[in-house]
């Protein structure tokens, strides 16, 4: 019998799960709260480690939806737990009795204004990783005007308990090194610095990217966290850090500072999380049933998770989780059919 599967979130996780489920003979409904599909990917220009175009990847994902029902500008208005299903009212007025729900709600980028000492939103020449991607895509940002000295600050809102996050955001090191190379390619005369605590280049080809940044682009890596930034009268930035490898305090004047905002839990999700009685972790992300074997399941039967809803993920990790979640949902629905009704 045809079952209803509701997918919350039209970013990479939701899109890939929908595409994986479309031939299963079930009725797939995908909802996205914003006006377009793609989530954060729609805002990105190129992807680490090899620089493939985010748009090309997203276009492939959207093309493979191929007939799946989806609603943009649509959120959950109400969700109730029934015996073997979830009764959902969408913000567009449609009601769905979902036999399985996949939460593919993604993440929020850390709001860099909260790290006041870095001056985002106060000093003109301080931007974020997302702002820089916007510029790579559109070339529209008056702050980026032939900078000669550019700095990247890793771990902004990550590994920082005072900003509410002890954990590593996983993707910012590779993103910073990628962006450092890209901006150096745009402005070959510029000196580019990366301020890092540890470089976590864990994935395939990431270490190659690091070597390329050093060797081909001459990016200078400084081990130390930027402690403060001050704007000068000419709008340049005085940046202070410790060079922890030589144990000496260091200062440098920069024309542009890029903050690598980390991955934080989606705030929009809170009402749904509470209605579903889902536990969250200390860091605010949804808890999976266990952290090794049942990554796509939650404490609630029929409720599944994929992607950054449970914590920072790379794009390939997210896509793999989405495909895994699709299989687990089908297996859950098949098992459910065999059980006698209460």
């Amino acid at each position: 019998m045809k079952k209803n599967i509701l997918i919350i979130g039209g970013g990479p996780a939701g899109l890939e799960a929908a595409a994986s489920l479309k031939h299963s003979g079930n009725n797939i409904i995908l909802i996205e709260k914003s006006h377009q599909l793609g989530g954060h990917l729609a805002r990105w220009d190129r992807l680490f480690p090899d620089g493939i175009r985010a748009r090309e990847v997203l276009d492939k994902m959207i093309a493979s939806l191929d007939g799946v029902n989806y609603f943009t500008d649509t959120d959950i208005a109400q969700i109730n737990i029934l015996d073997r299903s979830y009764s959902v009212i969408l913000s567009n007025g449609i009601s769905v009795l979902a036999d399985a729900v996949l939460m593919a709600t993604g993440f929020d980028l850390f709001d860099a204004r909260k790290k006041e000492e870095y001056g985002y939103g106060i000093y003109d020449q301080v931007i974020t990783n997302a702002d820089l991607e916007d510029w790579f895509r559109t070339r529209e940002d008056s702050r980026i005007d032939h900078p000669k000295r550019i700095g990247f600050v890793h771990c902004v809102g990550s590994r920082d308990e005072k900003s509410g996050c002890r954990a590593c955001s996983k993707v910012c090191c590779a993103t910073a090194v990628k962006q450092a190379c890209e901006i150096k390619a745009e402005f070959p005369d510029a000196q580019v610095y990366c301020f890092y605590m540890d470089l976590r280049m864990f994935g395939k080809h990431y270490e190659d990217l690091y070597l390329k940044a050093q060797k081909e682009y001459g990016i200078r890596f400084i081990r130390g966290r930027v402690s403060e930034v001050a704007e000068q009268i000419d709008k340049t930035l005085q940046v202070k850090a410790e060079d922890t490898l030589s144990s000496k305090p260091l200062k440098v004047t920069l024309d542009l500072l890029v903050l690598m905002s980390g991955i934080r839990p989606s705030q929009n999700l809170e009402p749904v999380r509470k209605a579903l009685q889902l536990a969250k972790d200390d860091d605010g992300f949804i808890n999976e049933r266990d952290a090794v074997y049942e990554l796509q399941k939650t404490s609630m039967p029929g409720l599944f998770v994929a992607g950054a809803v449970t914590g920072p993920k790379t794009l390939p990790d997210t896509l793999a989780e989405a495909r895994a979640a699709a299989l687990q949902i089908l297996s859950y629905l098949a098992d459910n059919d065999k059980k006698p009704a209460k």
């Binding site: 060797k215 200078r220 081990r223 490898l245 030589s246 305090p249 260091l250 200062k251 440098v252």
Partner: protein, 96 residues
């Protein structure tokens, strides 16, 4: 340290001659294996950092006891030609 005051000219010459100087990952293998380091403070890792920070005399003093035995070359995980690098640093920065 003030990076605004670092003289980039000599460093640029060094990088041209020895592109490997930009590729150090700061692991410290060279320093740990250094035969000269047993007797006198010697560290290629620290010397490369000192050069990037504009501390040329400090860099030279960190390499002054080097006997060019090449053990650092054998242990470098990035496969950098450390021995030749030390020679080039002496050449460029010992000029008066």
């Amino acid at each position: 340290m003030d990076l605004n005051r670092v003289d980039q000219e000599k460093y640029a010459r060094l990088v041209k001659l020895e592109p490997d100087v930009t590729c150090c990952i700061g692991c410290g293998s060279c320093t740990a294996s250094c035969s000269a380091g047993v007797f006198s403070r010697t560290s290629l890792r620290s010397a490369l950092l000192a050069l990037q920070n504009g501390k040329e005399q400090e860099a030279l003093s960190l390499l002054g006891a080097c006997m060019f035995c090449g053990k650092c070359l054998m242990v470098c995980p990035r496969g950098l030609n450390t021995r030749h690098m030390i020679l080039s640093i002496h050449k460029i920065y010992s000029e008066t």
